[in-house]
């Protein structure tokens, strides 16, 4: 969260456009080495090595999926246990009330269902989607970020030196460097 809610600083960051993924990776590395920690890259397809260059690693999604799957399976098993042993106990072919082998399929399906829902909704939630507006959309030529161009944005934060960022990005293989303003103040880093 921005520590300076009262200052009206609408600069979102400095964005650079690249023609090739390799240029983007090298620029991200260079920016990180120059001390820019708040940055994001934008590309039409996932580029392996980019998150390493940005030093970004996040495991919230896998753990959420694991948790949801575990709870889902437990719920499925509990449902069968409670209904078959307590609320609706009856004799089926002389099997014990808690005949666990025949409860495996439903337990399993519940695990998968909850884990799968958590995968999609967790991914969206941690990525802050859906988010119809984001300042980066007003970066020049940004509609190509989903097609054939590659973007690096050094984001505004406390102690951010926009002039230094611009100079750094111009020293890379970028085809275009521009400052991008947001329409309203906010934390746009997610």
């Amino acid at each position: 969260m921005s520590a300076h809610a009262e200052t009206v600083d609408l600069l979102y960051g400095v964005c650079a456009e690249f023609n090739a993924p390799g240029d983007l990776i090298r620029a991200a590395e260079k920016a990180r080495e120059a001390g820019f920690t708040e940055m994001d890259c934008f590309s039409p397809f996932p580029i392996h090595g980019l998150t390493d260059a940005m030093k970004f690693h996040d495991v919230k999604v896998p753990w959420t999926i694991f948790g949801a799957g575990f709870l889902g399976g437990l719920t499925g098993l509990a449902l069968q246990y409670i209904t078959s042993v307590y609320t609706y106990r009856h004799n089926v072919g002389g099997r014990p009330a808690f005949s666990w082998p025949s409860f495996i399929p439903v337990t399993y399906e519940c695990t998968i269902l909850c884990a799968g829902l958590a995968a999609v909704f967790g991914m969206a939630a941690f990525n802050g989607l859906p988010k119809p507006y984001h300042p980066v959309f007003s970066a020049p030529n940004f509609d190509r970020a989903s097609q054939d161009k590659f973007f690096l944005c050094l984001e505004n934060h406390d102690g951010f030196d926009a002039a230094k960022a611009e100079a750094l990005l111009k020293s890379t293989n970028a085809v275009n460097v521009a400052r991008v303003d947001a329409e309203e103040a906010g934390n746009w880093s997610q």
Binding site: F42, S43, V61, S84, F103, G116, V120, L129, P130
Partner: protein
């Protein structure tokens, strides 16, 4: 260049031949949606056929709801007829979609990239058709929620030891996960369409569907985690769904059903039927829309190989049933095999052996696998064969069981056929609408493939390879 790298590059060249660029891929795939002129006359013809089929389906359903399932050919002793045959047939067809999208992703088979999207669509539509049958077979679909466990004033709960309730959970989970998997794969492609279209209203629709996707590296990071794990979850799911469907039969004591080979042989059969359906759509699709360099002969070749392999597994299942009947020494099982070979429905049984056992063997020849006509014909035979297999298993086992006094015959009514051809029409309609409104090939994964093939030397605009050297290290 090491030998492994070279082999990898050769393989990529087979899968994505010709000169491509990112924007050319966008145009080739995206313009199917953005430019309606790219759709041939055949598209309109098939939408019309599909629309008529859908009307037939609706008519059949309305009459069924009005009259009850007595309008079907189901009787005593054959309580399961077309409804269950078609349920199993459709759900099997769906399985290739999940196999292509999930299993081949996990084993890093990049050739899936150009066929996974429409195979997944096929899965969803096939499961929709499949789901209709048990729902309507309950007789009172408006109380279908009774299938689910929920607290009610009778204090009744489902019988969780029955494969039929497992089926409810398996099929519900399967369609939910398939739809999620499809949607998550579409998000980045919707973003591409949003940015490509010139129509502001349409752009808004794509923007909403893409959830405001902006291609952030952080988002891609979590996206890939979610996608890969979802694939990992779907892989055992697809195996479980058809295993559970097969247990509907295998757990019972009906001769011909009570066989332990059922789960693996049903799963193989599902993949077999599914690949036949993928080929059925892939062959005309790539011809009509000029996608030969995206869905290549190599793809068809490999799909044919999978079809051949699963076909052999299925045929092994048939043979093992015969062996089992003989080796078990159970007279009922032996009578069943005799009834299959020489009984009143023997013609259908031999047609099954021809379609699923004999016809796919032509795919041993590489030339046959490269010939689209042969492939198309074999695919149709396999689809018919897999339908016959379910006929052989279901009514043919039920119509003569232990007591000759309770033997009977089964013949489907016109409404059975109406609903069956109706669902085929509905499926065709959905598939062709999908060709029109959704990217039929996963655009971002094709770009990823292109990047793996050419690295940074992808041309910017005209599909020409940029001169090497730029940014070389």
């Amino acid at each position: 260049m090491s030998k492994i790298v070279k082999e990898k590059l050769d393989e990529l060249n087979d899968l994505l031949p010709g000169q491509h660029s990112y924007s050319k891929l966008d145009d080739q795939i995206g313009s199917l949606i953005l430019d309606h002129k790219r759709h041939p006359k055949a598209w309109y013809v098939f939408v019309a056929i599909g629309g008529l089929g859908t009307l037939m389906l609706l008519t059949s359903i309305v009459w069924l709801l009005f009259q009850g399932i007595g309008i079907w050919g189901n009787n005593q002793p054959v309580g399961w007829g077309f409804d269950i045959i078609n349920f199993v047939w459709w759900i099997g067809i769906g399985h290739a979609g999940t196999l292509i999208s999930a299993v081949l992703l996990l084993v890093r088979q990049q050739w899936r990239n150009s066929i996974n999207r429409f195979a997944e669509a096929m899965t969803i539509f096939a499961v929709m058709c499949a789901g209709l049958y048990p729902l309507l077979h309950t007789g009172r679909p408006w109380v279908a929620y009774w299938l689910f466990p929920y607290p009610n004033i009778l204090g009744m709960w489902p019988q969780f030891r029955s494969p039929l309730i497992w089926d409810v959970f398996a099929v519900t989970t399967y369609i939910t996960i398939s739809a999620l998997f499809w949607f998550i794969g579409l998000i980045p492609d919707f973003a591409t369409l949003r940015d490509k279209t010139k129509n502001a209203v349409v752009a808004r629709v794509w923007a909403m569907l893409s959830l405001g996707w902006r291609g952030s590296a952080k988002h891609w990071h979590r996206y890939e985690q979610a996608y890969l794990i979802l694939a990992g979850l779907s892989t055992p799911l697809v195996l479980s769904v058809h295993s559970i469907v097969s247990l509907d039969f295998a757990v019972s004591i009906v001769p011909g059903w009570n066989v332990t080979v059922f789960p693996p042989y049903f799963v193989a059969g599902a993949v077999f039927a599914g690949f036949a359906m993928v080929l059925t759509f892939a062959i005309p699709l790539r011809k009509w829309y000029g996608l030969n360099d995206l869905i290549t002969d190599t793809h068809l070749d490999w799909m044919a190989k999978i079809m051949l392999t699963t076909g052999l597994v299925v045929f092994y299942g048939y043979l093992s049933e015969v062996f089992y009947a003989w080796y078990s020494g159970v007279i009922w099982e032996q009578a069943l095999v005799q009834n299959r070979f020489f009984g009143p429905y023997a013609g259908l049984f031999w047609a099954l052996w021809f379609c699923n056992g004999l016809a796919p063997q032509i795919l041993w020849w590489p030339k046959a696998r490269k010939n689209v006509v042969v492939l198309f014909v074999v695919s149709q035979l396999v689809s018919i064969g897999m339908w016959l297999e379910r006929f052989v298993i279901i009514p043919m086992s039920l119509h003569r069981d232990y007591l000759p006094s309770s033997w009977g015959m089964y013949s489907p009514s016109v409404w059975d056929f109406g609903m069956f051809f109706g669902t085929i029409g509905f499926f065709i309609l959905l598939m062709f609408l999908f060709f029109r409104f959704v990217p039929v090939i996963n655009i971002f994964e094709m770009k990823d493939l292109l990047y793996k093939k050419t690295g940074d030397h992808v041309g910017d605009h005209h599909g020409e390879l940029a001169t090497a050297g730029k940014g070389a290290e």
